[in-house]
Amino acid sequence: MGELGFPTLSFLIFFPLLGAALIFLVKKDGLAKFIALGTTLLNLVFGIPLWTNFDKTNPQFQFVETFRWIPFLNAYYKVGIDGISLLFVMLTLLISVLCVLCSWTAIKQRVKEFYALLLMMETIMLGVFCALDMFLFYVFWEAMLIPMFLLIGIWGSYNRIYASVKFVIFTFAGSVLMLIGIIVLYYAGGKTFDVIELSKVQLPVNLQYWLFLAFFVAFAVKVPMFPFHTWLPDAHTEAPTAGSVILAGILLKVGAYGFLRFTIPFCPEATLGLKEIMQVLSITAIVYGALVTLMQTDFKRLIAYSSISHMGFVTLGIFTLNKEAIEGAILQMINHGIVTGALFMCIGAIYERTHTRDLSKYGGLGKVVPIFVFFYTLFSAAAIGFPGTNSFIGEFLIALGVFKDRILLGAFLPLGFVLGTAYMVWLYYRVVLKEVPAEIKDQLYDLNLREVLMFIPLVVLVFMIGFYPQVLLGVLKDSVIQIINFLT
């Protein structure tokens, strides 16, 4: 039972599944949309007591629920959250609502299946962030593949089949070794899958390196870290808007979350030993990702590649292994979820009108669709890390941590920032300024109320975190110190 005298987390996790079941019972497609919207909205509302009742001063896991699940595997159903998970749970709840909203008119075929899968996806994502049992975690982690595979494959654009299969094969290949790692950990850590118990165990250093490797591949594919990133541009580009938003908003964070929750506590010595390699990989991802982004001519692909660069900052922050950098990394994960999610929603909205993602066909949107451009400008500024927006805080904290750790490494950061600004500004120039090409001029019309409504919470968050990051950092602080304590 949770603190509220009620299995709060389990209810949050499985409520969307109920909605999905309900969708299959109704006949009309129109009704399916409203059920999905209602379910995700209700779930967001149910999440509020979680936020208000969360004890920020308590670094332990809260709202913990434990049930014996599979006796012959000694696996438990155990969920609970600390400050880090809480943020991701809230982000997931919000993003799910937006995913329903941004698909409202874009999805025209097999509507019921689409929303049912979206709701299943919400259940699975919440499960990943709440699981405190390695077996349960792996179940949710792998189960994520199935709805995502179908979302990309059925509702994606032209090259969807290639993208969906590539996504599954890459992620599956990455995670099978983690499966072996989990079992080895089970026997090395005293025959338990319990995350809290396992993090107390001091494993032999030699084994730590092996485990680090097994977990690293799984998480690095998901993040994605250079050189495991090649699935991402395809999956992002071909997925429907909601799929891209989920990918950017949540799925990419799962890998980084794994590093924080499992790799560092289970293999602290190995993490310290391999820190430099991880940092170099992250820097490579930042610079290489940004350079490739500059070359893109496809609107969506461009944002997809920019994710690689942004996630490079996140992994750099995590593996700098001090308080500022890790806080910055977590904040930056949330920020990336908000901002890149919003950018994908912008692209989705505009694609619905023009049916092209080719940047050479765009231009001068500022003159035709001012409301759209208003939001687009805000999110572009946030993606660059403009002071006053949320990314500024995150990037600043990461930079602070990196400089504290090693000045030489910090020297690469300005390069990342400059390149990041370059591709976003150039993109802005190509899309918003210049002249409007004739072929898209007639097709453009401005955002409607639904679309404005789905952008507003994100805008609020961008500035709220930008001006008062303490809202999130206060929740994080003790959990981050807890993680750092594993390293000493």
Binding site: F72, V139, E142, I169, A173, V176, L177, I180
Partner: protein, 454 residues
Amino acid sequence: MINLTPFFPELLFIGFTLFYFVLGLWIKKRVVHSLLVIAFSVLTLLTLFQVQGEAFKGMFVADSFSQILKLVFLINLGICSLLGMNYSQIKDDLFYEFNLLLMLSTLGMMFMVSSKELLSLFLSLEFMSLCLYLLAGFVVTDPKANEASLKYYLLGSMFSALLILGISIFYSIFGGTTFKVIAENLSLISQHSFYLFTGTILILSAFTFKAGLAPFHQWSPDVYEGAPTPVTAFMSVGPKVAAIGAMASFLTEALSQKPELWVGPLIFVALLTAAIGNVLALRQVNLKRLLAYSSIAHAGYLLLAVIACSNSGLKAISFYALVYTFMNLGAFATLISFPQGERINGFLGLSHVNLFLAVSMLVFLFSLTGLPPFGGFVAKFFIFKSIIESGYTWVAVICILFSILSAYYYLRVGVKMFFYEGQISMPSMAISLRLVLVVALCFTIILGVFPFLP
């Protein structure tokens, strides 16, 4: 007086078989045949878990391991009889024989996993196989079926000869053929007994052949493709599980003290099987052949638990067998209910025509791949857990790396069903097939979400 209580389920089943042998001649309707067979299996099932113990001076033992495998065989029998009912190439007047052979073969399997003595093991294995040779060539007019039957028979009898040779070597060494005698005298044999090693290899190669493990797997794709689909479904579960189960109980009870005799060869077989089963499945365009290769790969996973040679290994085998029965028979049921389905390209756009069929096929495929939340995942996890517990982590790593390939070939079928548009027509599905699909689907999911062992 011999204590026959542990033997009761088999006795009952023999009774049912004889009853059906006589009565079946007068039954005209296919439904009645199938219903009778199902009723017999269910009644036997009910008695199955009531009795435990040994009979015939320890030659026959009903323990929890063999009981779960018998459960698997009986489920397999019931479902395959239903599948046969809807398979038009088996003519009405032959359906009686078809069911009878299925029952007799199942009887052989039940004895096989309970025998704790090499000669009775050999007899029950032969009993099972003879029925299977006939079943493989059941559609006499089909040249492919004839080829399958003949190939299976010739190769099968060769390996039976090897098995009996191995048994006679064992008899000459130990002066007895019960597992107990072998285990008791094993420590007296010098470390490098050439005869003991030869005998072991001969016996194991026969099991390897029956389970369709590499390098003795070549018969299985041809036979699986040629045999009528319900028979293929039957063969892909029952005999495989029986051979693996018999091998597991032989190794754990007779030879567990000398693992150096058999662990090396079996690891070689397991790795080769994982490689061959998965790599060759990649290029198949015929779904039946694809499932044949995939069942080779699955037998490889089962073998991993045999190598583990522990209590949890035996449990893992029984759970895997149970899940595998449902997911694999489910996939075959889809194949039968969809006439164009033998070629993978025949599945183009199936989800537009019949969403239920497409979704259930997808669930079976994901479960076969080993993705949660389906039974196949828990089963695979259990297998890998048992082998890592026994200390062969590197074998598990290599096998799981090969299993990545399996994701590709299973997905390929899913891609055809869901991501393409196709012009296919679909006759309405028979109720019995729907029933099989629903049962298989339910258990594949339940065993994944709330796994249990009877």
